[in-house]
Symmetry: C2
Subunit: 191 residues, 2 copies
């Protein structure tokens, strides 16, 4: 495995192997077991190759577990029910993977998790999606959406509902009705 000199492109194969090993460890062994040493061992690279790319274990886990919420492509359909359900489904899908289920609470639990990358992860969970969400509300007919309702609050609640569904609902013993969330938000948006 060759390292490159300053100014030349990094070996993307190392990046890929390290990120893949991190995801595998998160899914198979959990957050605590996903250390730089264990990732290096599984990826077949030296720990120094990892530290050259990520300043710490946390930044590595943030990159590897990035659910891509800043690159959501949800074009408004004009039908608010359809659009709300797509947003709810998207968040549920992003949170409810073995990697996310291990990485997300693990990152939240870290004390002093005040790094720029860490904030960026939480930030993008809602912020990158807001323009698409506003567009979906704007594309809906006026009788469906009261302009007095704050779209940011509604999206916060949609994300919160997805968090609840993925991390807490499995323990409540109740059945899992995804559409309920979209229906309640739809009702809230009515003029």
């Amino acid at each position: 495995v060759s390292e490159t000199a300053l100014g030349r492109p990094r070996d993307a194969r190392i990046d890929d192997a390290v990120l893949q090993a991190t995801r595998e460890l998160l899914a198979e062994e959990g957050f605590a077991a996903t250390t730089v040493q264990s990732v290096a061992r599984r990826a077949g690279v030296g720990a120094s190759a990892i530290y050259r790319r990520w300043p710490s274990r946390l930044e590595l886990i943030v990159t590897a577990s990035n659910p891509g919420l800043d690159q959501l492509e949800i074009e408004p359909s004009g039908d608010l029910v359809t659009d709300l359900r797509r947003f709810v489904d998207t968040y549920l899908e992003k949170f409810d993977s073995p990697v996310s289920r291990a990485a997300f609470p693990g990152l939240l639990a870290v004390r002093g998790a005040e790094s720029v990358e860490y904030r960026a992860l939480l930030h993008e969970m809602g912020q990158g999606v807001r323009p698409a969400f506003r567009a979906a509300l704007a594309a809906a007919p006026p009788e469906a959406v009261d302009p007095a309702v704050d779209p940011d609050t509604v999206l916060d609640m949609l994300i919160g509902a997805a968090l609840y569904r993925v991390f807490i609902h499995p323990f409540t013993g109740r059945s899992h009705e995804i559409d309920d969330v979209a229906d309640v938000l739809l009702r809230a948006l009515r003029p």
Copy 2:
């Protein structure tokens, strides 16, 4: 510190000292640092005295960080706005303590966290409160609450919104408007 023989009441002072030490460590040092050994050291008891009371570190943390959501006493006021805001405030307050902020994601992050006590903690977050929440909706005038709306879904979303507010919202850079959540739910409940 005296241990008692089988059948006699346990020394409540040991319980209190251990639980207090656990809370202090969670708040000051975080989830990872809150081990049975470190709790024993801070409480001035032996690790065996702790293991006699709690089968593992996780159960100890669950007991010590129990936010008391199963003992909520919220009597319906008859005014739905008031009641919804009290529920939202209660959850925000329960989640937003230094102990809860360390314990809650830590417990969620633990792999194989399938112990009875652990499930009980998550369960009570919503379940113990449901009767009081249903009572609040039942006490509201009929023009405020559509019986077609599922109270469980609304409470799930209220809890999810509180989770979002405590664990994610501080990173979004937006201002913190507690009343927004109650207002959105109020709108959703309208017939």
